[in-house]
Subunit: 340 residues, 2 copies
């Protein structure tokens, strides 16, 4: 493996020049830059990540805490992960996995070893053991999901309250006086992910404001169960029935159940509203889409943490620019490198 020293020798410049060509942190004449770049290409040079991390105090790696629970929505978790990893690369960051079964200490470890510059925490629950740990860690982090006490934390999530409200409002405007909310599955509700609560709050508020009656039925696992729930809802409905089914798994079942009961979606019988357009596209069914998509959330999370990360750097640099002249005048020697 060639080193930057090899590149320097081949290009006939000093090692520091090679470094500056890579970082662009100081002006380089066109001529030297070209020579250096040619040498790098010729040797297929790649900077050593460890050495760079050691010297620069930044690993260019973001830790991603993934949930351990063999839950129902592993598919959507996977979607988050791959979008996060791809987005991070756009800003020259890599993603290191931190599994949940290592517990909160896992986070302390990767930060303590200075393996990562920042953290993204997935599936944050209302009362999450990782939150107090994160607060103490000396790196920026972004949470996906909103804990009970979110003060001073960077959180991001779909706006479930808004989504819930919009679902009801949309249906009310279409003339529905009664709507049925097919809730998340029990397993999800029991974990304290509070987006369920937030969605309900949005639904309730909008229902009160628009004078809409809301029937709530629990989420189901089987078609048979869903058919029963739908039948019951139909009985209590005045006029055209309408459904809100925020959970993806339920959407499939609901669509199937309605079909089995002879109802044609969007035409003579009922309307389904949800937070995700993925299913809608796949099944070519008239669904309405509301709120952020998972990939949108993922991308935003990465952008935020990258911003945090570069902010810290550039703020440090600005500060240095400001004090440099003062230092010079005083002829004192102070470390300009940031010390953690």
């Amino acid at each position: 493996m060639p080193t930057s020293k090899d590149v320097a020798r081949l290009a006939g410049v000093s090692q520091s020049t090679v470094s500056y060509v890579m970082s662009g942190r100081r002006p380089i004449s066109e001529k030297t830059r070209k020579r250096v770049e040619d040498a790098m290409a010729q040797l297929a040079f790649q900077p050593n990540a460890g050495a760079r991390a050691l010297a620069s105090r930044r690993s260019q790696v973001i830790g991603l805490a993934i949930p351990f629970v063999p839950d129902l929505h592993m598919g959507s978790i996977m979607e988050f992960i791959s979008v996060i990893a791809a987005t991070a690369r756009q800003s020259d960051y890599d993603i290191l996995l931190v599994t949940d079964d290592e517990g909160p200490q896992g986070l302390e470890r990767v930060v303590g070893q200075q393996l990562v510059d920042g953290l993204i925490i997935m599936q944050v629950e209302g009362d999450d053991a990782r939150v107090p740990v994160i607060r103490k860690l000396p790196v920026p982090s972004v949470l996906i999901g909103i804990p009970e006490d979110s003060k001073g934390l960077e959180c991001i999530d779909a706006d479930f309250e808004l989504a819930g409200a919009m679902c009801v409002e949309e249906l009310a405007q279409l003339g529905h006086e009664t709507v049925t909310l097919v809730d998340w599955q029990d397993a999800v509700v029991r974990r304290h992910v509070n987006y369920v609560k937030r969605f309900h709050r949005g639904v309730d508020k909008a229902a009160a404001a628009t004078g809409t009656k809301v029937i709530k039925v629990p989420g189901r696992v089987t078609i048979a169960g869903m058919e029963k729930a739908v039948t019951k809802a139909l009985k209590e409905t005045n006029g055209i029935p309408a459904f809100i089914a925020p959970e993806a798994a339920n959407q499939d079942l609901l669509v199937e159940a309605l079909h089995n009961l002879g109802l044609v979606l969007g035409e003579d019988a009922s309307v389904v509203v949800n937070c995700s357009d993925r299913i809608a596209e796949r099944q070519r069914i008239p669904l309405t889409t509301i709120g952020f998509e998972p990939d949108e959330v993922s991308r935003r999370a990465v952008h935020r943490i990258v911003r945090d990360l570069t902010d810290t750097t550039s703020r440090a640099h600005e500060a240095l620019e400001l004090i440099r002249p003062v230092l010079k005048r005083r002829k004192s020697t102070i470390r300009l490198r940031p010390q953690r």
Copy 2:
């Protein structure tokens, strides 16, 4: 952040002693070890990963190439990932994601930057662009899935041929003369994952050996489609119908379809055989399980690469032990550190 120097000072020993306490690479008196360990605990010391990687030439990180395809089985991919990450930690390795959309160069990059000590490649296809790249890379790697030309590569996968054969044999022993194979979905078949081929080979061989008639129907996306397929299969069947449904998505549909057609599983009508017991447990249906589970495959992949990794190290050390006396006698100086 405290450094090993701080630990050394506090314990009243040299930095090298601290290092040897951590690595165990040379005998340390009980007394000093205790002093050092106390100091480490008191300072909450964590070794700097970059520095360690630089000096030792090993990052203790394994790169994991994950598929980009927003495919149908994202759930199972997620399962692989989390088991791999958890298992790697057991051997003190971390997992760095390499997304497929960076292409094969992504692999060259993480290896070139010496970010990773080895690679695990997921979802390897019959003719995979990453394979030729992997062959050239100077680090060990393990493929999950088997490419067309697998010579000299460490591959691991469930034994699909065996699974296919066992499915047929099991049904034949139960007295079935005709079995229906519900194939993988088109999207999967079209990608050149050759486990589909291998499964079919196993089925065909066993069918020939047992004199069983096999009806093959394509995988479906909707219940309606599945019901049609099942109906057709029933017509061509002599005696009690039996089904083989290797793909998880199909299993759900198939079970539902049989139910809708009034057939009770495992009782008066039909038997379903598949490669995975997960669904069976979840749905409490009499399914037979065959072959490796995904998590088993994941664990094996990690164990293998860790073995490769430690083998290299220990072989190097053994070699050094052997030549050391020779070197001493000759009073010559030779670099003992491995140079890449």
